[in-house]
Symmetry: C2
Subunit: 269 residues, 2 copies
């Protein structure tokens, strides 16, 4: 449907690379929805060009420059910069319903059925499972909600310093109100969960639909040898994400790198 | 109510010490429910005596000796020994409703309101949050259910080798069916969660009602100096459970140790 969209966010070129892979993975699994990426003004021109080839809509969001309520909010809480940018997804009112996905997620199968859910649907956060993880959520764009979220943000801040704290504060009945708003965990499988409860991962992980590279080390923090198909580098041990990390890099090197080469020429990127 | 009970399990003297502290913590918070402990035949006489002073009912469960369906099941799946013992809690049909609690849990306030919930109510497991954690759950004793659980157990085994795998396999619609069966996480706060998402613990942890010392290192794995009120020892760093661990030990040394002394005399225990 033309009035439904997957939405992501990238404020810099690193997260933009994530958004490229995410967009590609959605296309590869034949989504019928529109793809939108919100970008910060720091994203380079070549990256913007590549994003435009993958996404239907690339929208620059500059909170500092916006002159709207977000600008005011930002002056009160400068620590919540990226959070305010993420909340901008509620302004996409030319869509009736959207699914927000972090730029560090990867889609493993068609997930268009998520649009059957209502705002705010999300999967539990491993760690504190009465909070939802804000890496994947279903929402309804609305200027009214956007305004209320900004207000909440400036008044109460974020208990974790990021968007997840704000959104859980605002949609605070998620844990207790409606089971239909609990997305199955396989729609936001954090690589962390593999190690905290391995038998459950072995039992249910095969059905994973979205993997989320949550935490400090992102796929783009590693380096990859496309010939040997081997990942290396980064402070964190590569072995902690074996298959999914390889899947991310395979998609990146096969589908994204060629587009980046066209933009950058022989320049390194 | 006389036909409702808190139920726990201890197959050896170590877990029996946990059960003593748990029982004391329930009494200290003025529960109006009965307290039942299932014990294995290995629990020593002195420990049984102390348990009898704290609990209304101390029931020896010897699967190997039972001659019932559990014995048969056990011969097929000897690996699931403690699991079969735990399932015995469904045979307590002189109660209409029960709350099972692991012997490594500690109650921080009155939780009698849990009896308003229906079978099977439990809190999500951090790690794989579409599974419930089987350390605290509301259930209805029933010989029929008991039989079905044993059957499920022998046919499908346990995906994690323990009772949590079996119970999640049997009550498999927990994640999707009824939000009222999702106990708030503060009724089964695993000490692990403190470190996986510290800001959430800081925000919500103050409301904790039950703490669960899940994992390899149990409170009784440490040693305690009651004069200095200091915990030490064990392979795991003490700092990982600061307040709750101290609370466990304070209760143990003030209320349980004197009773053990009466039973054991000057013998070490
Ligand atoms: O500097 C940043 C940090 C975050 N993000 C966006 O905000 C999301 C949430 O941040 P992140 O994924 O790093 O947090 P985590 O999931 O690890 O908690 C990212 O996926 C991006 O979409 C961004 O664009 N730039
Ligand atoms: O040798 C054992 C192991 C377990 N248990 C009982 O089974 C529960 C579940 O085991 P545990 O708490 O060790 O598992 P965890 O919560 O760490 O996964 C315990 O709390 C006890 O009630 C027991 O009595 N003896
Ligand atoms: Mn993320
Ligand atoms: Mn336990």
């Amino acid at each position: 449907m033309a009035d439904q969209a997957f939405v992501t966010l990238a404020t810099n070129d690193n997260y933009a690379r994530g958004a490229m892979v995410l967009g590609k993975s959605l296309r590869n699994h034949n989504t019928s929805k529109k793809l939108v990426v919100l970008i910060g003004p720091q994203v380079s021109d070549p990256c913007q060009c590549v994003l435009k080839r993958i996404y239907d809509e690339v929208r620059v969001v500059d909170v500092l420059d916006s002159g709207d309520a977000a600008h005011l909010a930002m002056m009160k809480r400068p620590d919540l910069g990226v959070t305010f940018t993420k909340l901008h997804c509620w302004t996409l009112t030319h869509y009736s319903k959207c699914v927000f996905m972090d730029a560090d997620t990867l889609v493993l199968s068609n997930i268009d059925e998520l649009f059957d859910r209502e705002e705010l649907s999300a999967a539990p956060d491993p760690g504190w499972p009465d909070c939802f993880n804000s890496g994947v959520f279903v929402y309804r764009p609305s200027i009214e909600t956007y305004g209320k979220l900004l207000e909440f943000c400036t008044e109460h801040g974020s208990f974790d310093g990021g968007d997840q704290g704000v959104l859980n504060g605002y949609f605070s009945d998620w844990a207790t109100a409606d089971i239909a708003k609990h997305l199955p965990f396989i729609y936001n499988l954090s690589s962390i969960a593999i190690y905290t409860y391995l038998p459950a991962f072995k039992q249910f992980g095969g059905n994973a639909k979205v993997v989320h590279f949550l935490g400090k080390t992102k796929p783009w923090s590693y380096t990859f040898d496309p010939k040997a198909k081997k990942i290396s580098g980064s402070e964190q041990d590569v072995s902690s994400n074996p298959t999914y990390l390889l899947e991310w890099w395979m998609l990146y090197s096969s589908s994204v790198v060629p587009m980046l080469h066209e933009q950058y020429g022989d320049q390194t990127f």
